[in-house]
């Protein structure tokens, strides 16, 4: 806080000396601004409120903030272009991810209402961290400068590190937090080293400039190493094999709504970064890297999930697998500009997966009850009989994860695989298709538990409070919408993907023979 307060006057002082950012430039970070403002409001209001009522009201403030930010993305969308000396760029791509990430945050906030009350967690920091973390994720998707990407990445990471450890009376939660933190920092260091080498190889940290340099042909070996290191870091963030090992542990220990958040939000943002880093800069030699990583992720994720008994852990493995499917979309873009299919498919996948998974974790967190006691498969026995609606929604989400038609998950997989086939990636498609069949098994186990086993008496089933119900409903509707009318969202994704790729290609095309920006 103090630092921010400190820097404001300085900012203005400096701003006078140079051309100040115009109003439209602020518009381009409007969602971030809104989120930060509301985050601060939450922080300010927290001590003022009566402790008993604070949870609800703080949550509501946070929710309003998220919704306002959501609305503001529409304004932002009106001002495409770069801002702040080429730090951020607003295009369809970034708007898409803004919208997605903020929507995720909003739903998570909504589904946290009940969780807060049940788990006795400090609400002020909780909601504040979610909002601030969302800022980081938003920035990740719009940043075109590695410095900013790095910082945004850290914002989102650090806030999730902390959020993961929020159930502080639980050893598992702090352990989850610790593991996430240490490994996350470890991976960040790799990413950073990659950035450093990229800087060394190209002399810039700006995506455009790097892209420029790398399009010129004659790519230095250093750049390869840099891409490798950056891939390690980002691969870790998106939990793709072989950098996935942290996922199950962390997801198991972290609070359930937060798992919903971190399995979707930061992941989506990290995918956005990965897209920028991999494609916009035309990372060399990426194809087999992604290919192998995708195949490994799917296989390891699905196989790992087969024998899990803890639902959160199971869903963690599933998220690894889904990262793998998503990476198929990445693998499609072997060459520049051939098609936008891969990118748009991947974007659609993130959206569909987010809608589904947030919803699934909302149900899980509601059902887990105080102290997250009921998270094993056995606890779900007979849920279909005792709480039909809850079970039905969870079943619906699981179907989406399996990839059954009329759910978003189906089209997500469908787009990714059809893009892969269009690019003649038959091998990868077959691996993906087989994996989705294997994956059906463990999702089915949950459904089987819910519907085909006798209920166990000792597990309490409470009806979902309005907020949770609303959150779940939103997710169901979103998943359904994506499953029945995927066209609009896909069009959007295709458009923004083509923007992304066009900007990348034009850079490459306009300077065919440049040898790099420096010297």
């Amino acid at each position: 806080m103090s630092l921010l307060a400190h820097s404001l006057p300085a900012l203005f002082a400096q701003a006078q000396a140079f051309t100040p950012p115009s109003g439209s430039e602020y518009m381009r970070i409007l969602p971030e601004l809104v989120l930060s403002v509301f985050g601060m409001i939450v922080m300010f209001v927290d001590p003022l409120l009566d402790e008993n009522r604070s949870q609800k009201s703080l949550g509501t403030i946070a929710l309003i903030g998220a919704l306002a930010a959501l609305a503001s993305t529409f304004f932002t969308a009106q001002y495409p272009g770069s801002a702040f000396w080429n730090m951020v760029r607003v295009d369809g791509f970034s708007v898409f991810f803004h919208f997605l990430v903020i929507a995720i945050a909003a739903v998570v906030i909504l589904s946290s209402y009940e969780y807060m009350a049940v788990q006795r967690i400090r609400a002020g920091e909780y909601y504040g961290l979610i909002l601030f973390g969302t800022v980081g994720m938003c920035l990740m998707s719009s940043a075109v400068e590695l410095v900013l990407i790095f910082i945004a990445l850290e914002i989102s990471s650090i806030s999730t590190y902390v959020l993961a450890g929020f159930r502080r009376h639980e050893a598992s939660s702090s352990e989850s937090s610790l593991k996430y933190f240490l490994l996350g920092s470890f991976a960040t260091a790799f990413f950073l080293y990659g950035v450093a080498l990229m800087f060394g190889a190209t002399g810039s940290t700006n995506i455009d400039a790097i892209s420029h340099a790398l399009h010129s042909g004659n790519v230095p070996v250093l750049a390869y190493v840099a891409v490798a290191l950056m891939f390690v870091g980002l691969g870790f963030k998106v939990a793709s094999a072989p950098f996935h090992v942290w996922t199950p542990d962390v997801y198991e220990g972290a609070p359930a709504p937060i798992v919903g958040l971190m399995s979707t939000g930061p992941k989506a943002a990290a995918f956005a970064v990965l897209l920028r880093v991999m494609f916009e800069i035309n990372a060399p030699g990426r194809f087999w890297l992604i290919w192998v990583s995708a195949a490994l992720s799917m296989t390891l994720g699905n196989l790992g999930a087969l024998v899990q008994d803890n639902v959160k852990r199971l869903l963690a493995y599933s998220s690894i697998a889904h990262a793998g499917y998503l990476l198929i979309g990445f693998a499609v873009l072997r060459d520049f500009g051939t098609s936008t299919l891969g990118v748009s498919a991947a974007m659609f996948y993130t959206a569909a997966y987010a809608a589904t998974n947030v919803g699934a974790f909302a149900v899980v967190s509601h059902f887990a009850n105080a102290g997250e006691k009921y998270v094993t498969l056995e606890d779900y026995a007979g849920l279909g009989r005792r709480s039909p609606m809850l079970a039905a929604t969870l079943a619906f989400f699981l179907m989406s994860l399996i990839g059954i038609p009329i759910t978003g998950g189906f089209f997500a997989k469908f787009y990714v695989l059809s893009a892969a086939l269009k690019a003649d990636l038959v091998g990868l498609t077959i691996i993906g298709v087989l994996n989705s069949a294997v994956g059906a098994y463990y999702y089915l186990r949950i459904i089987v538990m819910m519907y085909m086993r006798e209920p166990r008496g000792e597990v309490p089933v409470t009806s979902a409070p309005p907020a949770t119900a609303l959150a779940i409903a939103v997710c169901v509707l979103a998943t359904l919408y994506l499953g029945v009318f995927p066209g609009r969202v896909l069009d959007l994704a295709t458009q923004s993907a083509s923007q992304l790729l066009r900007s990348a290609t034009t850079i490459g095309a306009t300077l065919p023979s440049s040898t790099g920006p420096a010297q």
Binding site: M1, L3, L4, S7, A10, L11, Q14, A15, A17, F18, P21, I29, S36, G39, M43, E51, N52, A83, F84, W85, M87, V88, R120, I121, R122, E125, G128, L129, F132, G133, V135, G136, L139, E145, V147, L148, I151, A152, E154, I155, I158, S159, Y161, V162, G165, F166, R168, H169, S174, S177, G200, P220, V221, L222, V225
Partner: protein
């Protein structure tokens, strides 16, 4: 470098911390050699000063003893270390043969703080501002995580007057 190796070899965290300080100080020297005065200064102040103090403080606070010789991880030894060594060798090899960098003279870089400031508050204005959010988060996180759980319990349940502190936390503090 010696410091770095020492960090690895030392088994007591305090010693490791001190050797890290040595590394950082010497790095500051390197920066000076490269002409990055500003960075060198910040290195000394932020790293050696602030961060390491934090470390030492934590070590003291938690009264960390010597590392026990636990079994360790086979994966880390069998897979990780060879991997790391291989990777390091490869990177080193690349750096040596493919970095096509010429030698730089000492103090080659105009590390003028004013230039840096200009860069910082103009080109990199946004990251700078965003950093504040980062710091804010860090503070919040630290507060939340480091505060004792019973505080929160009291914070949220002020009615319940008598609340036993979890015993192990208390004992941990007293030690």
């Amino acid at each position: 470098m010696a410091g770095a190796v020492n960090l690895l070899v030392q088994r007591h965290p305090i010693n490791s911390a001190l050797s890290l300080v040595v590394v950082m100080a010497s790095l500051a020297g390197e920066y000076l050699l490269l002409g990055a005065e500003f960075v060198a200064a910040v290195q000394v102040i932020v790293y050696a000063g602030a961060i390491m103090v934090l470390f030492v403080f934590t070590v003291m606070l938690l009264n960390a003893g010597e590392e026990a010789r636990s079994g360790g991880s086979r994966v880390a030894i069998l897979l990780g270390i060879p991997g790391v060594v291989m990777g390091a060798v490869l990177v080193a090899w690349t750096l040596l043969h493919h970095s096509n960098t010429q030698a730089v003279s000492i103090g080659a870089l105009p590390g003028d703080p004013r230039d840096i400031a200009r860069l910082l508050f103009h080109d990199f204005l946004l990251p700078f501002e965003v950093t504040s959010i980062l710091i804010l988060i860090a503070i919040m996180g630290a507060v939340v995580l480091a505060s004792r759980p019973e505080d929160i319990a009291r914070h949220h349940h002020s009615q319940s007057t008598e609340k036993e502190a979890p015993e192990f936390v208390a004992s941990g503090k007293e030690r």
